[in-house]
């Protein structure tokens, strides 16, 4: 049985279609990354799945419960971590956790709170006001609060925004530890390295799901060719390349240029011309990255909108 199994979800706000026929399945124990630019409908989709919003069209189940009629039961079994820190800043860490534990009716209260504090290394700070915590600790509190009731599905909405690399790394280790225990995780993110830590990813743009699969599958299916350009005066080379037919992306990476295109022959022809015009420039085949694919998706969907 799939933990998330939704078809054709549509959500409109006014005349704006924020989620446009999104279909998604997530199997038990999977960590699925949910990617897309800002305002692409990630948050809205997640809110539909945890019962905070009712879809205008489409149906489906989360943990076997109907998303339209069983939202109260979904709420009991899902842990949802909001994008913005949404616990009480004028309560201490322990008080926040006690509040959540009481809402879920966890007994015995103190045992649950103490265990959760210990699991996430929050015990030493339990009497600190949540408002005085740094970004990383706030995020840890939020995660603690949404896994305390032992949910079977975790929905994380950009959980690592504004968190430093070390805290991010620890956060992801924690997510993998939880997933190995059978927990299913759907996590939205902007970070490519985080996407690569997911079992599978889904890419959404302007409310539409454009690609799903493993990272390798998504990269392969995008059908992009990448070359790496090296040499002197790369700024001039970049200017000469952009806009030529066959060249979709030119991006500086350190002392090299990544040149990406969907039409391999046209791209090679363009590069050959530039190689001739600029002395000392070498072109070698490169590997297409997930980021290249996403940039391609984003510029592609902008064209659709235009």
């Amino acid at each position: 049985m799939n933990v998330i199994d939704v078809h054709g979800l549509v959500k409109r706000f006014g005349d704006k279609t924020v989620v446009d026929h999104v279909t998604m399945t997530v199997a038990e124990g999977e960590i699925v990354g949910f990617l897309g630019p800002n305002g692409s409908g990630k948050t809205t989709t997640i809110r539909i799945m945890c019962g905070l919003l009712t879809p205008d069209e489409g149906e489906g189940t989360v943990l076997g419960f109907d998303i339209r009629t069983d939202s109260l039961r979904i709420k009991r079994e899902v842990g949802y971590m909001t994008q913005k820190f949404s616990f009480y800043e004028d309560l201490t860490i322990a008080e926040n956790l006690e509040f959540v534990a009481r809402l879920y009716g966890l007994k015995p209260l103190n045992e649950h709170v103490a265990r959760t504090l210990g699991d996430l290394g929050l015990t030493s700070r339990k009497d600190q006001l949540a408002g005085t915590l740094s970004g990383g600790w706030k995020q840890r509190l939020a995660l603690a609060a949404c896994i305390m009731h032992k949910p079977r599905l975790l929905l994380l909405d950009e959980p690592t925004a504004g968190v430093d690399p070390k805290a991010r790394r620890e956060f992801w280790d924690e997510i993998h530890r939880l997933a190995s225990g059978g927990l299913t995780v759907l996590v939205s993110t902007h970070y490519m390295d985080e996407a690569e830590r997911c079992h599978r990813i889904g890419y959404i743009s302007y409310g539409r799901m454009l690609a799903t699969g493993t990272v390798d599958e998504v990269v392969r299916n995008a059908g992009l060719t990448t070359f790496v350009v090296q040499g002197p005066r790369l700024d001039q080379v970049a200017a000469a390349l952009s806009g030529r037919s066959g060249v979709d992306q030119v991006a500086p990476f350190g002392a090299t240029l990544h040149v990406v295109g969907s039409d391999k022959t046209a791209l090679q022809a363009a590069l050959a011309d530039v190689e001739k015009e600029h002395k000392g420039v070498t072109v070698t085949p490169g590997e297409t990255s997930l980021e290249d694919v996403f940039i391609q998706f984003m510029s592609g969907s902008k064209d659709n909108m235009g």
């Binding site: 019962g51 009991r76 949802y80 909001t82 949404s86 800043e89």
Partner: protein
């Protein structure tokens, strides 16, 4: 350079700030509406609705006979413009109940032997009982009374006004200022203040309570966890009910100890009414909370509701002095009904039947506000 980047004052920079401010002002619709609405409302209410010398006050007549003298007396009182006889009581007890309920401001009793005494020149008497819970209301009506009544009587007997000088003093008008014989205005103000204080604090505190959750983003989390709209509403409303209870104790104790306001009625009846009133207020605050996007807006809406409550409820200015439209407006304010209840119970010793209608009104407000709040709340995330 004149408008250089280093100068202390630059019109361009001031312009930038002004433009930004006006754009923000325009975006914040509620604040904008308040800026126009509040002065307009104050103007209309102070200008048209408030009258400190109310006329045409409802009065009950207890007349034992219908002789010409009695009729002359009644029509004379009516022509002063202060009295409007719309109740004709059969007995003193009936008139008493009408006054306790607040249906009449005066009870005029003309005894059965009135005509006989007039003809015998045997110092006739009429009795005017005035509801003095609000001393200001009765004062105009009472002050014109002696002269008017005497002249009317003399005219009825066919005497000339000049001859009236000699006869003056023959008629005795006995005035009873009921419930507040000394005309102490604190007796009227202090119980009213309980209502006003409750209205201000209860509505204000609950109106920001829910808005604070929305503003800080904690509402989304609250909704994602297993808590129902009803639970969230009660969870917000009940704590303030407790705060309200503390306020009631403080104000009632102060009324007794500091101001010596008499408490003639039943405490439990008053507390029941207070409970219903406070419930209506916190639910009103909660309803505001579902409408306002920021705490600032919630406070503004609270104030917008507070202003007419003070002016039209009969707290500051006599309710009966207001024109009809303002009285109708006053009826839809919970404070109006609560003031009637608390003044009736504390000063007049009114019992449940006398204030049942007013309590009923408060119950209607509770149901109405609770319904609106729950309906509006469901919509907040969708």
């Amino acid at each position: 350079m004149k408008n250089g980047i280093n100068s202390v004052f630059s019109f361009a920079r001031l312009g930038a700030l002004l433009i930004k401010e006006f754009i923000q002002m325009r975006r914040d619709r509620i604040t904008f509406a308040m800026m126009l609405g509040v002065p307009l409302m104050q103007l209309v209410l102070f200008g048209y609705a408030i009258n400190n010398d109310p006329k045409s006050l409802p009065a009950a007549l207890v007349a034992m006979s219908s002789d010409p003298y009695t009729r002359a007396m009644v029509s004379a009182l009516q022509t002063t413009g202060y009295y409007r006889f719309d109740h004709f009581a059969q007995s003193a007890a009936e008139a008493e109940f009408l006054m306790a309920r607040g249906d009449v401001a005066f009870v005029v009793t003309i005894p059965a032997d009135f005509a006989r005494r007039v003809e015998r020149g045997d110092q006739p008497q009429i009795l005017i009982e005035a509801d003095a819970t609000d001393p200001a209301v009765a004062s105009g009506a009472i002050s014109t009374l002696g002269t008017v009544a005497n002249q009317a009587l003399l005219r009825a007997r066919g005497m000339q006004e000049t001859a009236a000088e000699a006869a003056r003093g023959q008629l005795e008008v006995v005035v009873h200022r009921r419930y507040n014989p000394e005309g102490i205005s604190q007796y009227n103000i202090v119980p009213g203040l309980l209502g006003v204080i409750l209205q201000m604090t209860m509505v204000m505190m609950t109106s920001i309570a829910l808005t604070r959750e929305t503003e800080r983003g904690t509402m989304e989390n609250l909704l994602a966890m297993p808590s129902s709209p009803l639970e969230i509403m009660l969870g917000k409303v009940l704590p303030y009910l407790v705060v309200g209870a503390v306020q009631v104790v403080v104000v009632l104790a102060a009324a007794k100890l500091l101001f010596g306001v008499p408490f003639t009625g039943s405490l439990s009846l008053l507390l029941t009414a207070v409970l219903v009133f406070v419930l209506a207020l916190v639910l009103l605050g909660y309803t505001i909370s579902t409408m306002a996007r920021t705490q600032m807006q919630a406070l503004q809406l609270t104030f917008f509701f507070f202003l007419p409550s003070i002016l039209l409820s009969g707290f500051m200015f006599p309710y009966r002095g207001m024109p009809g439209w303002a009285q109708i407006f006053g009826e839809i304010l919970p404070l109006t009904h609560f003031l009637r209840i608390i003044r009736a119970v504390m000063l007049k010793g009114a019992d449940l039947p006398a204030v049942a209608t007013e309590i009923g009104w408060l119950v209607v407000f509770v149901a109405l506000f609770a319904g609106v709040a729950l309906v509006r709340f469901r919509r907040t995330l969708d």
